[in-house]
Symmetry: C2
Subunit: 327 residues, 2 copies
Amino acid sequence: MKKTISSLGEFGLIEFIKKHNTKSFKYHNVCLDIGDDCFCFNAYNNSKYVVTTDILIENVHFKKEWATPEQIGQKSIEVNVSDIASMGNAKPLYAFISLGIPKDTSIIFIKKLFGSIKNTCTKYGIHLSGGDTVCAKDITISVTLIGVCYGKPISRNTAKNGDLLFVTGTFGDSLAGLEILSSGKNNLTAFEKNLIKKHLVPQAKLEIANLISKNITITSMTDCSDGLFKSIELLTQNKGANIEIKNIPLSKNLIKYKNNDMDELYNYSLFGGEEFELVFTINKRDKCKLELLVPGAKCIGTITKNKVIFLENGKEKKFKYKGYKHF
Amino acid sequence: MKKTISSLGEFGLIEFIKKHNTKSFKYHNVCLDIGDDCFCFNAYNNSKYVVTTDILIENVHFKKEWATPEQIGQKSIEVNVSDIASMGNAKPLYAFISLGIPKDTSIIFIKKLFGSIKNTCTKYGIHLSGGDTVCAKDITISVTLIGVCYGKPISRNTAKNGDLLFVTGTFGDSLAGLEILSSGKNNLTAFEKNLIKKHLVPQAKLEIANLISKNITITSMTDCSDGLFKSIELLTQNKGANIEIKNIPLSKNLIKYKNNDMDELYNYSLFGGEEFELVFTINKRDKCKLELLVPGAKCIGTITKNKVIFLENGKEKKFKYKGYKHF
């Protein structure tokens, strides 16, 4: 059988790139290399630049029938700001947008898309700095965002045994929103509309990320783009964690959508992607300080030496990774 | 009639973006804004970073039937290095690659594509620093390249009246190569193979750009990606030029391909795109110095106050812009 990219998967491809990467030289000043939420390089005077890139493709990441051009534009910036946010104490500065646009796209669509990209950039103080526009079969939006990081960028892989694992926001809503959109259902209820909104216009947690990283030592952090299960895996490489699954925050909207079915709710909250919430660890001595600073942050577990274990009322509950796969 | 993106065109879209751009703040340290070959921002200690981005899409910019994965990979890096080169006295440092890959793409294809991206990066001392991989209908390669510029970046729009207009290399070959590929012709002659090579694996003129910008005051510069006619237009905004069209360098391959038909040769050399040669201006006092430094560089005209005029044996010859349009 011919081996296809589908069998390798996204994380496999990143591993492949890392393995086959070019040699880094001293002048590159690499501070945090490929494979984290951002790449980071040291500039002079101790300043550090963080860079992230994401690509959104029509009918893969969004559909014109489901999302307005404003929503597509906003999401394309928010997901990149979210990566910068997870570096801690960072400020996004420059956005580069490459657009692939089908020939028959209306000027009105482009104006709305760009208006929204511009507005979202303005919200975060980002300067629209460059780009490329080409013809394409499907709308393609590639965004590269450069930011400055005022301290040491927070890596995914630096939690210590005994650290507490915290999250912001709720989980599973975005997947539920996507499902409702896919079903083509009309006459939506209020909670269904809320779930859809969470999918279409996620909000980067830049303010919270900066607030906590300025005031507390965050020992590791990531933004949750591929599901909470995956985020936990990323923060516990060569380590483990005890996760209290009942502590994972769920929205009232999701609970209604799943009629309070706990097994279903666990699946949505662990394996739904595109939440863009912060998942991070702190030393347990900082627990009270954090909870005073961000009352909405919830502790969902503890970092251990061994493997990741999910606990429900003290009893182990097994889950297998079935997160969203790009290929 | 509904206005579509096709009626706006690429340069129209860039103008649109510039007009609707976000306000720039002091902390952005903008040194050269959107609309030039690179965006440039000042870091501390007088260092300047230059950034460029380009997107290549299957069946728009390349075809798998025509180009090997190695050629596609190399070109995706060369075209971005070419933008960095045209800033003068610059060094590319970090590459960010976003890939859209169809599900059925073979691992071998990806290995070859990435191997070539890696090798081309190594050639220029670039560190492969990040990226994103997603599923797509057509192969999509979005590259963002960050470099450092050791002096003042050379803009497109700073030539002075009386400056001499120089070019490196020959013009029209890439378009001829594309035509030969499109014709599906077999049993290619040596000159046809050479023309195809110029189209498939262009070479960025980084070394020459650094050599001349270190030793001579280059008053303006661009890399020729959308045809020489367009490059001249970019260097003469609010100015003019007298261009001696007989001085535009032509390759023996192109002359053979067009059977020495001068009118055809003018059209190919002015309106063929994707040459990635340098087009630049200098003060006329530096002519001899330049010609000693880069014997291959050719003077094709003089910057004037008024409009661009093409001259053949002292007589004006009219051309209308019919360069490659993306939309």
